[in-house]
C-alpha cells in the first residue's frame, strides 16, 4: 500500500458515521425546505453565488447573437425597420379601438357596481441560454428580485401566455412553462366562457383539457384564454387553441388537446406581468390550481 492510503485511513475516522450525519442533515433540510420557505436565505445566497456561472455559460450564445446583430447589412436593417413601422402603425390603430372599449367597459362596470379591473404593469426579461432540469419545462430569466421580479408572476410573449415565475432569486429567476407536466393553467373558452383547466403534458406543443365532460360545448379551433381564477394569471390572455377533440361515450371525460399560441420553443424574451393589487374579488377562488406542485 502506498503512503497516502495509510494516511487517509487514519485521517478519516468513522466515515460511515459522518456520512450518516451529513445525510440526515440533508434529509432534514429537504423536509424543512419542502414545507416552507425558512431556508430562503440559504437558497438566495447560493443562487447569487451561482449567477456568475450561469452568466458565463450563456455568454457564447449571447455573443453569437450580438455578432449576428452587428454584422447585418444595411438593407436588411432597413427592411426590418420598415416592417416594424408598418406593424407599429397597425397595432396603434388597433389600440385606439381597444382604449375606447376599455373606457366603455369601465363605465359599464361602474354601472353594475362591480370593482374595476386592475391595470397590468409590464416589464421585459430575457431568457438565459442555460439548461437545468431536463424533466421540467423551465427557463431562466436574466432578471431577479433586484429588478422587481417576484415569485408567481405571469409570463407572456407577443402571442400568448408562456408560464409563471417559480422561484425568483437576487439576480435571476426560474420560470416554468405552461407545458410543464406539473403545471395547470385555469382557462376559459373565449367563445362561450366555459371554464376548465389546461394541464401541461411535457410536450412543448400540447396542453390537455382533462376535466371536460363529453357534453361540453367545445370545438376544434376554439381559443382558450386565461380565466383569472387562482389569481396567478390575469384574465383574458390567450393560452392555446383546441386542435384535437375526441368524444368517446365509454369515457367520462372528453379528450381535448390544445396547442399553446405562444411560441414556446422559440422565445428569446418574455413580458412579465406585474399586478401590485390583488385581483378583483369576484374572480378569486380560494383554491389555487395554478400552483405548480414541487
Amino acid at each position: 500500500m502506498a503512503t497516502p492510503g495509510s494516511e487517509t485511513r487514519t485521517a478519516l475516522p468513522a466515515l460511515g458515521l459522518r456520512t450518516a450525519a451529513f445525510a440526515i442533515g440533508c434529509i432534514v433540510m429537504m423536509v424543512v425546505d419542502y414545507r416552507g420557505n425558512s431556508l430562503d436565505l440559504v437558497r438566495r445566497t447560493l443562487a447569487a453565488a451561482m449567477n456568475p456561472i450561469q452568466v458565463a455559460v450563456s455568454l457564447p450564445v449571447r455573443l453569437a447573437d450580438w455578432g449576428e446583430q452587428s454584422t447585418r447589412s444595411r438593407a436588411d436593417l432597413e427592411r426590418e425597420n420598415n416592417a416594424l413601422k408598418v406593424e407599429r402603425l397597425r397595432t396603434r390603430a388597433e389600440l385606439q379601438r381597444f382604449n375606447a372599449l376599455e373606457a366603455e367597459n369601465e363605465r359599464l362596470r361602474a354601472m353594475l357596481n362591480a370593482s374595476a379591473r386592475v391595470a397590468d404593469d409590464y416589464s421585459m426579461a430575457e431568457i438565459m441560454a442555460v439548461d437545468a432540469n431536463p424533466y421540467r419545462h423551465s427557463i431562466r430569466l436574466n432578471k431577479g428580485i433586484r429588478r422587481g421580479v417576484s415569485t408567481g408572476q405571469a409570463l407572456v410573449d407577443a402571442n400568448g401566455v408562456v408560464g409563471q415565475v417559480l422561484e425568483a432569486t437576487d439576480f435571476n429567476a426560474m420560470a416554468i412553462l405552461i407545458t410543464d407536466p406539473d403545471h395547470a393553467t385555469p382557462v376559459q373558452v373565449a367563445r362561450n366562457g366555459l371554464r376548465t383547466i389546461a394541464d401541461g403534458t411535457g410536450e412543448l406543443d400540447r396542453l390537455e383539457l382533462s376535466y371536460l365532460p363529453n357534453s361540453a360545448d367545445i370545438e376544434v379551433g376554439d381559443l382558450l384564454v386565461t380565466s383569472g381564477l387562482g389569481g396567478t394569471f390575469p384574465p383574458g390572455y390567450p393560452v392555446a387553441e383546441v386542435v384535437k377533440l375526441e368524444r368517446r361515450p365509454d369515457l367520462p371525460f372528453a379528450t381535448v388537446s390544445a396547442r399553446p399560441v405562444a411560441k414556446l420553443d422559440r422565445i428569446r424574451e418574455v413580458v412579465l406581468i406585474r399586478r401590485d393589487l390583488p385581483v378583483t374579488s369576484d374572480t378569486v377562488e380560494p383554491e389555487d390550481p395554478t400552483n405548480a406542485e414541487h
Binding site: E7, F22, V28, R43, V57, S58, S138
Partner: protein, 162 residues
C-alpha cells in the same frame, strides 16, 4: 512544500467543481438534454477515489446544494445523493485505485446508478414527476464520459505534482 501543494490541489478541486456546475447548465439541444452526463457526480467520484482527504463531506454537501439551487429542487436533495454515492468511493478508494480502466468505468456506472436512484427516490417523496426509461440514460453517458474526466483530471494533477 506539502502545504503549498495541498493548497494548489484545493484550488484544483474548487475549479473542477465549478467547471462541473457550468457543464451541468451548459445549453444542449433538446434531445441531448436527457443524456447529459452527471458531471458533478463524476468529478466528486474522481476526488473521492484519488484524493479522499482533500474532499471533505461538507464540500460534497455544498456541491449538492449548488446543484439544488440550479435545478430548483428542494435543498439537500442532490447533496444527499452525492453523499450516498461518494460513501462507497471514499470507503474503498484503495481497492478502486488498483482497478483496471474498464473495471473502474463499470464501478463509476454503478455509483452513478446509486446517485440517480437516490434522486429518483427523493423526487418520488417530494412528488416531482420523472418518468420514462430515458431517465437512466445519464448512467450510460456518465460511464462514457468518465474516461475523459479521469484523463483530464489525472493530467492536471500529474502536472501539478511535478
Amino acid at each position: 512544500m506539502p502545504s503549498t501543494e495541498s493548497g494548489r490541489q484545493r484550488w484544483l478541486i474548487a475549479a473542477s467543481l465549478v467547471l462541473a456546475l457550468a457543464l451541468t447548465v451548459m445549453p444542449l439541444p433538446q434531445f441531448l438534454q436527457v443524456a447529459r452526463p452527471d458531471w458533478m457526480a463524476l468529478v466528486i467520484a474522481y476526488w473521492a477515489i484519488f484524493a479522499p482527504t482533500r474532499i471533505p463531506l461538507w464540500l460534497i454537501t455544498l456541491a449538492g446544494l449548488c446543484l439544488d439551487t440550479m435545478y430548483g429542487t428542494p435543498l439537500g436533495l442532490h447533496a444527499l445523493a452525492l453523499l450516498i454515492m461518494s460513501y462507497p468511493a471514499l470507503k474503498w478508494h484503495l481497492r478502486l485505485r488498483v482497478f483496471s480502466w474498464a473495471q473502474l468505468a463499470a464501478t463509476i456506472a454503478g455509483l452513478v446508478l446509486l446517485y440517480e436512484f437516490v434522486l429518483l427516490w427523493a423526487n418520488g417523496v417530494t412528488q416531482l414527476s420523472m418518468r420514462g426509461i430515458d431517465y437512466w440514460l445519464p448512467i450510460v453517458t456518465s460511464a462514457i464520459a468518465w474516461p475523459l474526466v479521469l484523463y483530464i483530471l489525472d493530467a492536471v494533477v500529474a502536472r501539478d505534482d511535478t
